[in-house]
């Protein structure tokens, strides 16, 4: 048989691709549950980290300190976490947005007044290493601690400002990451748009205080 005839080449490629696809599909489906488990544990670790707990035993600490609640809204429910770690009541809002190259997400822990940020954790799918990817670094996330989301009863969110130290003394801003402007802005948008969805609930909570 002529190995360079078009018929042979086409049949060869088709068979090869089908076999490879079948094996990969089986492997992916078999490993899926374990991978999902890892992702779930990582998520719990992020929630714990947002309230300042660095845990070695994520499952146990999560069960101990974190309560999952849901916020009813006009079109469904929104996820929310409550934490009572260190005897302090904190609300943890999961935030989602899109960065430069792909999704970014995180957890924002706020104090009982729903305005003061007690800690944040961010994560991303594929931001540029060294630039946008720095949103996960403590040098960026630590800036959020103590900042305020509300100004005189109005949601203002946290802006990112250009230049080191630009946000000094500003309760509603942090320094952006140089070279990571689009990702930094995406963090700003992510926090304000996500919190806007929770706004009716938050205002109810704040008025009850």
């Amino acid at each position: 048989m002529n190995k360079n005839s078009s018929t042979y080449i086409i049949i060869y490629s088709v068979v090869m691709v089908v076999v490879v696809a079948a094996v990969l599909a089986i492997a992916a489906m078999t490993l899926q549950p374990i991978q999902n488990e890892n992702i779930a544990v990582e998520k719990k670790g992020d929630v714990l980290a947002s309230v300042g707990l660095k845990s070695d035993n994520i499952e146990a600490d999560y069960a101990k300190y974190i309560k999952e609640v849901s916020v009813p809204t006009a079109d469904g429910e929104l996820p929310l976490f409550e934490s009572n770690a260190n005897g302090k009541k904190l609300y943890i809002v999961p935030v989602n947005g899109s960065g430069l190259w792909g999704p970014i997400w995180g957890y924002v822990a706020v104090e009982g007044d729903w305005s003061t940020i007690s800690g944040v954790v961010f994560a991303h799918k594929g931001e540029t290493p060294g630039l946008g990817a720095e949103i996960v670094a403590p040098s960026f996330t630590d800036q959020f601690i103590g900042k305020r989301l509300f100004e005189g009863g109005k949601l203002v969110g946290i802006s990112v400002l250009k230049g080191a130290g630009a946000s000094r003394g500003n309760d509603h801003a942090v320094d952006a990451i140089s070279g990571g402007t689009i990702t930094s802005r995406a963090v700003e948008t992510m926090i304000s748009t996500t919190l806007a969805q929770y706004l009716p609930y938050i205002e109810k909570q704040r008025n009850n205080e």
Binding site: K3, I9, Y12, S13, M16, V23, Q35, E42
Partner: protein, 209 residues
Amino acid sequence: MSNKNWQYFLGPLSKDNPVIVQILGICSALAVTAQLKPAFVMAASVTVVTAFANLIMSLLRKGVPSRIRIIVQLVVIAFLVILVDQVLKAYVYDVSKQLSVYVGLIITNCILMGRVEAFALGHKPWPSFIDGAANGVGYGIILLMLGFVRELLGSGSLWGFRVIPEAWYIQNGGFYANNGLLMLPPMALILVGLIIWAHRSSNKDLIEK
């Protein structure tokens, strides 16, 4: 193993080393060696992929239409890499996150295509397997050397365990500071250069006239 197979195995470890003699696979050697553990996982992954890519291509070599052989090689390599990536995500999730895109980029590692094209297509399965494994190990040795030096001097730890006592550090009143340059890829390139220098000084026949 026969004498010849031993030579196939020992060659890539030193005189035919893919990284320091053939200067292949440099990109990942610089990218993943800031710490020992990811370097080891990367080395193991590459070894598995080269060994089995060589084995599979050698088994297929009589039936592969020569006009599409590069495509077939890529499919086989990509198949193995995706498989390895899935396994890493399931069983060593944290390392897999650290390696991020570099696992996927094993596909483009020149060592793989080089060995398949230059060796596996012309040799029997068992010698091909040995050749592939040996090239992976040769690559791995260099990665581990880089990872050892970079993690020890750059982070003061090995495999995540602290080696240099906390009390030595300047911020704790000591005299020592980590060398931040070692955490950056350019320093890894300088280290590769030093290894090549030492290697050539002891193997004079490698020096070009």
